[in-house]
């Protein structure tokens, strides 16, 4: 499972960075989204990967640490998802405004000359 998760994070990051460096605004926004998915998975993995261990203590008991996972990274991921989502929406607005003003979806607001 560790291999799958780390490979997923790696592939998402690589694709995200590649798209981030592309000249079209739509590619940039998809790149940023992929990057934020990779980061969210990464934060999650920092709480260590354990199967069948909910971050919940049984009511009316001390709780069994061997069946308990760290809730903090999950809370962090939740916050990061919300913030990332809002920022993506905001970026989308800026992207559309830029498209409206310049008539092109190039990040510099003008097409590069082909020579």
């Amino acid at each position: 499972m560790e291999i799958i998760l780390s490979a997923a994070i790696g592939v998402l990051t690589a694709s995200g960075v590649y798209l981030l460096l592309r000249p079209r605004t739509y590619q940039v926004i998809i790149g940023l989204s992929l990057l934020s998915y990779a980061v969210n998975l990464f934060i999650f993995s920092m709480g260590r990967l354990r199967v069948n261990t909910p971050p919940i203590l049984e009511p009316g008991g001390v709780g069994d640490l061997s069946r308990y996972t760290d809730p903090v990274p999950q809370a962090l991921v939740l916050t990061a998802i919300v913030i990332g989502f809002a920022m993506t929406a905001l970026f989308l607005v800026v992207l559309l405004a830029s498209r409206g003003f310049t008539g092109t979806d190039h990040v510099d607001g003008r097409e590069q000359r082909s020579d």
Partner: protein, 539 residues
Amino acid sequence: MTDWLHHLMVLPILLPLMVGAAMIPIDERNRMAKGVMGFVSTLALFVLSMVLMRASASTEGFLAGTSVYQLGNWPAPFGIVLVLDRLSALMLCLTSGLALAAQVYSIARWHTAGHHFHSLFQLLIAGLNGAFLTGDLFNLFVFFEIMLAASYGLLLHGSGPLRVKAGLHYVAINLAASSLFLIGVSLIYGATGTLNMADLAVKLASISPENRQMVEVGAGVLGVAFLVKAGMWPLSFWLPTAYSAATPPVAAVFAMLTKVGIYIILRLSLLVFGANAGVSAGFGQTLLVVGGMLTIAFGAIGVLASQAMARLAAYSVLVSSGTLMAAIGLGHSGMIAGALFYLVSSTLTISAFFLLIELVERGRDAGADVLAVTMEAYGDADEDEEPDEAGAAIPGTMAVLGLCFCLCALLLAGLPPLSGFVAKFAILSGLFGLSGPEAAPAISPADWTYVTLLILSGLSAMIAMNRVGIRTFWASIENTEPRVFVIEIAPVVVLLGACIFLSLQAGATMRYMQATADSLLDPASYTQRVLTAPRVGGQ
């Protein structure tokens, strides 16, 4: 009595947050009402931050020294805490002072250039204050994002192709930096199991080697995120375009945004990677020195190469950041106080300069065009008469503007007798061991390079300001006197007046800065205060 006074600590975040939120449903036509609300809130914040600064500088009484506010009444490593010490109080004070000036300035005309200016402005202040007060890395991220989200809106305020293009780049680079921020924070959490800065400083002293490596990688990644914000050389190409495209009151508070990055780097490098950190002590200092010096060089060349005054000011921001980064990186304990003085003085100067530029250029074509375009984009017919109510046009405008410009030039170049000179002198005397605890340390080649760059950057600022000044005030072709209102020039005068006050009271200010530096160089008392703070209402 002292119980509720303790809650004053959380007000710098809550007040602008609530006022900002309360303004959103108010109709845009009541701009003046919003402006007044914003002004009252910022003024209250300014008074409050003065009170907090006094309190944190005292040795007894409420909020004396380093004080801790436990949100939700959970003790430090488990709950989220706000920490107020001399440094954060100083930054709060600087923020609210700049904000007050920019707010007053914006009421004259610039807040009419778009929607929700005052709400966004209050939210930006809330984010800034939160970033200065928090004692917890993840909360720092949250406040950083609040600040950034508001700054995206403010940068786009006034709209127009130029701002939207600059805004697009600004948003993209900051989103990427936020990802790095999160990676850094989670690496640190994964290795140490804590996000509280004080707890992290304690845990780092006794950590296993492989975990130490992970913390250092995390801190490095985190540092890159802050350095993007602070504008270190290879990460700073977005900054001049974004800052010069922003509307003047926005650019004036943006001068503070780069200082957030500097603040965090200063705090973390002295608290977490200070003398007590064992093997990790002084982590990343070489990078800060080299990067800082390259930033000074890049900024100085940029200042010389700038045609427009706004770009000149934006490159001055870089020079100021670079000077501070290298000063932190060189790590002489005597330099910290000087660097703090420089931080305050240069931020005030650059803000005043950003505000001044638009007034000076108003009579000229370029600035008038931008304003005309924005008025066209948003304007109703009635908006033309609004500025007339704001105050009478003052006589001898050019004389006042010219005088302010001269003061800005002196301050930016660091010439005597003003605070720019005092600040640079304080940094250099700390560097050569003329002040501070250690007596005359060996002066390394890095120190000499720093001294040279610091003085050359002053020279380049002087040359550039002379050239621009001559072109604008003496050899102006158009000869039209700009119409400037009292409430527009007053903030500039007040900010520059603050710099003059700093120069006159340099002794007292340096004593305050020295005490602040001493408290920063004693991380043990900070961590002890944070980790042993009692809960409200007994144990």
